[in-house]
């Protein structure tokens, strides 16, 4: 009976996280269209509801009602299972993300490793659908996505190794508490090169502009999901945006103090802002990074394929290798103000 109750509470927590996340994803798509619209001096969606606020619901209903078309030469089972893999890995990663001091679904020791492992699984959805659709465009998109995600996973993994060394732990709560002591103690400053590497490879991992060669509208129509319609496409879309929010949240947690207040250690401001819950700070920080995603999309032209590979292998990975040694020395010799 107690075991049953435990499982019930866990299921309720999971349902709350997934519900809020999907709502965030829905409004992120709306926000993206609005922000890019304003950046390009357009208005963006404004027809459904006040200021177009009900647009995401209209989109969801449209996608739910659309017919799912199976290409006649496709492998049906893999074609259907691929978007499920994408969305499942995108959602499962949220299990270990800490929302505040005490609010986390699973506070496990190897949280960082778990996130890395799950984010490396996401590429299977893209690869499988590219092959199962039996279309040249989809296969090209899948190939590009696979090559890109393998290359940037290494840089991202090394950047996170630096964070693990600085925090001395693989647990998310320990990573956040290791950054205690105000804005200058957050890891973005001692690990600045690793932060840039993490953020660039995070954008590349989610296949977003300027690294969106896997979709590449101008060359591959829609890349890996060119044959997916209706709900199958919607799941890929949902997974991409959930991953964007995840990468932004991780950037906030690993390098910008997670749920810590930025006014820690500043005499007057600290007590003024003491009432703000940790969750609010986390949301503010991650919103900035999510906004950066949209900003990049409206600003940068797409990278050429060889430039992507050059950036990943010849610039980002050597930078991380050098800085891991620097972090090791900083930690070993207790060089302040961060590692006293």
């Amino acid at each position: 009976m107690e075991g049953l109750l435990l499982i019930a509470t866990i299921v309720i927590k999971i349902a709350v996280i997934v519900f809020v996340l999907i709502l965030c994803v829905a409004y992120l798509t709306f926000f993206e269209r609005k922000v890019i619209g304003f950046m390009q001096t357009r208005i963006g969606p404004n027809r459904v509801g006040p200021f177009g606020l009900f647009q995401p619901f209209a989109d969801v209903i449209k996608l739910l009602n659309k017919e799912i078309i199976f290409p006649s030469a496709s492998n049906r089972f893999l074609f259907v299972i691929a978007p499920m893999i994408s969305i499942a890995t995108a959602l499962a990663a949220w299990a270990v993300v800490p929302f505040s001091e005490s609010v986390v679904l699973a506070n496990i020791n190897a949280g960082l490793l778990y996130i890395l492992a799950l984010s490396s699984l996401g590429v299977y959805g893209v690869l499988i659908v590219g092959w199962a659709a039996n279309s040249k465009y989809a296969l090209f998109g899948a190939m590009r996505a696979a090559a890109q995600s393998i290359s940037y996973e290494i840089a991202m993994g090394f950047a996170i190794v630096g964070v693990m060394m600085a925090a001395g732990s693989l647990n998310f709560q320990a990573v956040v508490t290791a950054q205690q002591g105000g804005i200058w103690h957050w890891f973005w400053l001692p690990l600045l090169p690793l932060f840039f590497v993490y953020w660039i490879s995070g954008v590349a991992e989610t296949n977003r502009a300027p690294f969106d060669v896997a979709e590449g509208e101008s060359e591959l129509v829609a890349g890996f999901h060119v044959e997916s319609s209706g709900m199958l496409f919607a799941l890929f879309f949902l997974a991409e945006y959930a991953n964007m929010i995840l990468i932004s949240t991780l950037a906030a947690i690993l390098f910008f103090g997670g749920w810590l207040s930025p006014f820690q250690g500043i005499p007057v401001l600290e007590s003024w802002f003491a009432f703000v819950p940790g969750f609010a700070w986390l949301v503010l920080k991650l919103s900035f990074f999510v906004f950066c995603y949209l900003w990049f999309r409206a600003t940068f032209p797409r990278y050429r394929y060889d430039q992507i590979m050059r950036l990943g292998w010849k610039i980002l990975i050597p930078v991380t290798l050098v800085w891991i040694v620097v972090v090791a020395l900083l930690v070993q010799f207790h060089i302040g103000p961060w590692f006293n």
Binding site: G3, L78, I108, N109, A110, L113, Y114, L116, A117, L118, S120, L121, V123, Y124, L127, I128, G130, W131, L139, A142, M143, A146, A147, S149, I150, E153, G157, L170, D306, Q307, R310
Partner: protein
């Protein structure tokens, strides 16, 4: 039969069935995907053994990187499936023999006489704060430091050998000098011709 057993049997059966399907699947892409499922199920079993570090590294390295490359290569090749099947009957007796020998060895070594609970008692359950990764690191860099370093050097030699085999001199291929491409200024490539009026 409690909940843990249920999870164990689910993962174990998934691992065995998908391992079998790796061999019998007709399409090589399906074989690779079944191998992914085998690795994933084994990671689940390892988690139940409280080896979460090894399980997550298995998913990260083998499923996330190695099998992605496998899948990448297999998708690119158009393997003639009929010719791959031709030697099946010819090699079957040898394969069966090998399988019998290996199975026999495993039964002898892991069987109850040598690996039972009397010879190898179950380790005491650790507390909730037990840190698998910290303990593994402590053992790896002290007791097994030499073995660890030797493994690392062998891997490095493997990497160097692979690069040495695949490397071609730059003059044999066309490559772009990206530094030059980035350094280009508009007035080197563009000439604005104004109307003379």
């Amino acid at each position: 039969m409690n909940f843990i057993h249920l999870i164990f049997y689910a993962f174990a059966i998934a691992a065995l069935v998908s391992g079998f399907m790796v061999v019998v699947a007709r399409n090589p892409v399906h074989s690779v995907l079944f191998l992914v499922l085998t690795f994933f199920s084994m990671a689940g079993v390892w988690i139940l053994l409280r080896a979460e570090f090894l399980a997550l590294i298995l998913v990260l390295v083998y499923v996330g990187a190695v099998m992605t490359l496998f899948l990448f290569v297999v998708m690119m090749l158009s393997i003639n499936q009929v010719s791959e099947r031709e030697g099946f009957v010819k090699y079957l007796p040898w394969a069966a023999l090998m399988m019998l020998v290996i199975t026999g060895m495993i039964v002898v070594v892991v069987g109850p006489e040598h690996f039972g609970l009397t010879q190898m008692p179950a380790p005491p359950p650790e507390g909730a704060n037990f840190n698998n990764i910290a303990n593994l690191g402590a053992v790896l860099y002290t007791d097994y430091a030499y073995a660890f370093e030797i493994a690392a050097v062998i891997l490095l030699a493997g990497i160097v050998a692979a690069i040495g085999l695949a490397h071609r001199e730059p003059r044999d291929r066309k490559s772009q000098t990206i530094e030059k491409q980035i350094a280009v200024r508009p007035n080197e490539r563009l000439r604005i011709i104004k109307d003379s009026k």
